[in-house]
């Protein structure tokens, strides 16, 4: 790492302010962790329930630093050739065949050196992030979906910012990218991975922050309606449901209410539009019952 990237931020407050400019409302923990990730040059492991803005955080940081976002979506069965690099063997074959007629005198060693050259390397997201000359933000999304063994692929990148390719040698990063890993916590990540990262839990926001998020994301909403929405969502989250409404669902709900031209929510509106917030029939009925005090089985 001959070229150390200059710090991007001067203080956590600056992080918060600049995130705010790109319409991402952070809190203290988020701002402090992003700040530290930049200073300590460590990746951030972002964990939390679905729909709380984990991926959005990476996108926003990319936007505010003017960096290119490189995204690796993880899934079961992801392997080296999809995550790191792959030799373009078709092109290699072509090269060998093209060489056969003209230069029969070329010896094999030379040819071998030739076909294991960067020209024949297909870079995948992780390697691309390392080799990028321009500033990049690397997002490794839903890292908990890959198998434990595949996780190990990432360890070298996460701690040393380099990739070892047997035929080529070690590729070291030109500059240290900011790295975000997101996880829905469907399985325990390995200690080795966790140790290399800063940990950030993004939970559901409190009423005040959720109100601000709604106001920011839904143009034309009144402060009163936003507050009421945030309060209702808090109440619903305190219930025992199969799935709690996420922030993105709150925003959808707020948009719907604005489109419907509601200035405030009365009981009927709430009952009619709950299905935007909740995705299971049993949840909808329970929430309706608890919110409005109606009997759950009063369907006629």
């Amino acid at each position: 790492m001959n070229d150390i990237t200059a710090p991007r931020f001067s203080s956590p407050d600056e992080v918060a302010a600049r995130l705010d400019e790109v319409d991402y409302l952070s809190d203290e923990a988020i701002a402090a962790t992003v700040f530290l990730a930049d200073r300590l040059q460590k990746p951030i492991l972002v964990e939390g329930p679905a729909g709380t803005g984990k991926t959005q955080l990476a996108k926003s940081v990319a936007e505010l630093t003017g960096a290119r976002l490189i995204r690796l979506q993880c899934y079961e069965g992801l392997d080296e050739s999809k995550a790191l690099y792959e030799w373009n063997y078709r092109k290699q074959l072509l090269r060998i065949q093209a060489g056969q007629g003209t230069a029969a005198d070329r010896d094999w060693a030379e040819l071998e050196e030739d076909i294991f050259d960067e020209d024949f390397l297909l870079t995948r997201p992780l390697l691309e992030a390392i080799r990028a000359k321009d500033p990049v933000v690397l997002l490794i999304d839903e890292v908990d979906r890959v198998e434990l063994e595949t996780e190990a692929l990432m360890l070298e990148i996460l701690s040393e910012y380099q990739v070892s390719i047997p035929e080529l040698g070690t590729v070291t990063a030109e500059q240290i990218p900011m790295v975000f890993l997101t996880s829905n916590n469907t399985r325990e990540l390995s200690e080795a991975l966790k140790r290399r990262c800063l940990f950030l839990h993004v939970g559901y926001p409190d009423v005040e922050r959720e109100r601000l998020i709604v106001e920011r994301r839904v143009p034309g909403i009144s402060g009163e309606l936003a507050l009421q929405i945030a309060q209702i969502v808090r109440t619903i989250r305190s219930m025992e449901l199969r799935k709690h409404p996420s922030v993105s669902e709150t925003i959808d709900w707020a948009r719907t209410l604005v489109v419907l031209g509601k200035g405030e929510i009365d009981e009927k509106d709430a009952a009619d539009t709950l299905h935007i917030l909740l995705k299971y029939q049993s949840d909808i009925e329970r929430a309706r019952h608890e919110l409005l005090g109606t009997k759950p089985a009063s369907r006629t």
């Binding site: 923990a29 916590n185 290399r196 808090r234």
Partner: protein, 486 residues
């Protein structure tokens, strides 16, 4: 600073958090990068570098609050407090009317546990005002007053503060205040009154403020305890096991609730792991049709054989749980888990017994939520035969008479209980017979293994016929067992 950090990390490790050397170094680096004046940033930085699991957060928080108590409030108390009073007035003119009088009085008595100049009525009024206005400074002032007045703290007593907290909160009567303020708001609405929705929202909002008040009182008590006895001593007396290490048999009500909350994500995690294991375990038989189809592109030579997806049978589970008083909390907890992962098993049947046995599978099927089901098991299941003391022998015999024929080679039998049989006949032959019929018989014992076989425990007699007898006292042990089961 590094020394304090070191002590702090040692204490975290004592509390059971796995903190590696790398993480310690990270924390030290982080601390040097930030402005130490900002307490929230400092806390977030330590948390980001040291705590790598959300479950460990509350343990971290409580140690942090002890080692890095909020000194800023402290200095305010000791100095003349006129300045802070004026701030208060500006911040919240609405609340000041009622609060200011109390605050002026409060200033004089804010020393260590000194006598109070505020009367109980004044304090109550101020509390109401604080709840109504939701103002942070006022909340802290009320907490200080309340602790001086009601907690009755004695210097040097080696306690964790729960008792002080309880005494203070009992005297404050927060629930009463909540109802009162709610009633006021209802009056404020005039003739129409509040709709169900409005009332619910108002109640939750006030509930959150009351919760904030409780936390303020707790923080105040903690601050005084640290002053009195020093961080290390206090940390030792409030140390609690991590959620996954809490002994289920002796869990307090709060711990039990947090355990049950932890069960949701745990069962999801287990379910994911189990499906994955099943899908990746092995290849299925050759898929002839697809192999031939694919061989067309290689001129009919089957270069790339295809296999069918494996379809291993899901195991059936029979759970037999002792629900007598001695192990009830454990059984309830385990039934919760079994049902949470029931989608992973083709069939789950559950039986409960004390000295008689009854099937309760249907109770789980009709109830939406396991808590309801467990409630109904306790009231409806026919489990008492003579006197309501555990009698494993009789219960097993009855089980054998009625259901033994339904146990087949795909069934795994789980027996939950401490095998404390009150010196009745053991009828261990039933277990032997079950083992012959079933795929596996496991015994989960919530007692520490050192107690097995002592007194009226006859787990040894049953154990010889089981595939294994496992000590399951904590969430961690249970998780491990279930992971190995499927």
């Amino acid at each position: 600073m590094l020394d304090v950090l070191n002590d702090f990390i040692v204490e975290l490790r004592r509390a059971g958090l796995p903190i590696s050397l790398t993480e310690h170094v990270d924390a030290a680096n982080a601390v040097s990068e930030i402005d130490l004046g900002q307490r929230a940033v400092f806390k977030s930085s330590l948390r980001a570098t040291l705590v790598k699991s959300e479950d460990h957060r509350s343990a971290f928080d409580s140690v942090f609050e002890i080692y890095f108590a909020d000194r800023r409030d402290l200095s305010q108390d000791e100095g003349p407090d006129d300045g802070s009073d004026e701030e208060e007035d500006e911040d919240d003119p609405d609340a000041a009317g009622k609060g200011a009088k109390g605050l002026k009085g409060a200033g004089k008595s804010m020393g260590q546990g000194g006598g109070s100049t505020m009367s109980a009525e004044e304090l109550a009024q101020m509390l109401e005002a604080a709840i109504r206005s939701n103002d942070a400074q006022m909340r802290a002032a009320v907490a200080q007053q309340a602790v001086s007045r009601y907690a009755g703290m004695e210097p040097g007593r080696p306690v964790g503060g729960t008792y002080y907290l309880y005494r203070t909160l009992r005297n404050l009567d927060l629930d009463g205040v909540l109802e009162k303020v709610l009633e006021e708001q209802r009056q404020g609405k005039g003739e129409a009154g509040m709709s169900g929705l409005e009332e619910r929202l108002a109640r939750d909002e006030l509930g959150a403020r009351v919760e904030g008040m409780k936390r303020a009182v707790e923080a105040e008590i903690r601050r005084r305890l640290v002053e009195d006895r020093g961080a290390e001593a206090l940390a030792r007396s409030v140390r609690k096991p991590l959620p996954e290490d809490v002994d289920v048999m002796h869990a307090s009500r709060d711990e039990m609730l947090s355990l049950q909350r932890a069960l949701g994500p745990l069962s999801r995690k287990l379910a994911v792991r189990l499906t994955r294991k099943r899908r990746h375990g092995r290849k299925g038989p050759l898929d002839f049709r697809q192999t031939v189809r694919r061989s067309l592109s290689t001129g009919g030579v089957p270069i790339d054989p295809r296999y069918k997806h494996p379809n291993p049978s899901k195991p059936e589970i029979v759970v037999i749980a002792d629900i007598s008083g001695s192990v009830a909390s454990f059984a309830r907890f385990t039934l919760h888990l079994v049902y949470a992962i029931s989608s992973q098993f083709s069939k789950v049947r559950s039986f409960v017994f004390v000295d008689n046995i009854d099937e309760v599978t249907r109770l789980f099927e009709v109830a939406d939520d396991p808590a309801d089901a467990i409630q109904r098991i306790n009231t409806e299941a026919d489990v008492i035969w003579v006197d309501g003391h555990s009698d494993y022998g009789h219960a097993f015999e009855r089980f054998h008479d009625r259901w033994a024929d339904e146990i087949n080679s795909r069934t795994s039998v789980l027996i939950l209980g401490d095998a404390r049989n009150n010196y009745h006949a053991s009828n261990a032959w039933v277990i032997a017979d079950l083992q012959a019929r079933a795929r596996h018989v496991y015994w989960l014992n919530p007692e520490p293994s050192s107690y097995w076989g002592s007194g009226d425990s006859i787990v040894g007699e049953y154990g010889v016929h089981c595939d294994s007898v496992v000590e399951v006292r904590t969430l961690r042990q249970l998780e491990k067992f279930v992971g190995e089961l499927a």
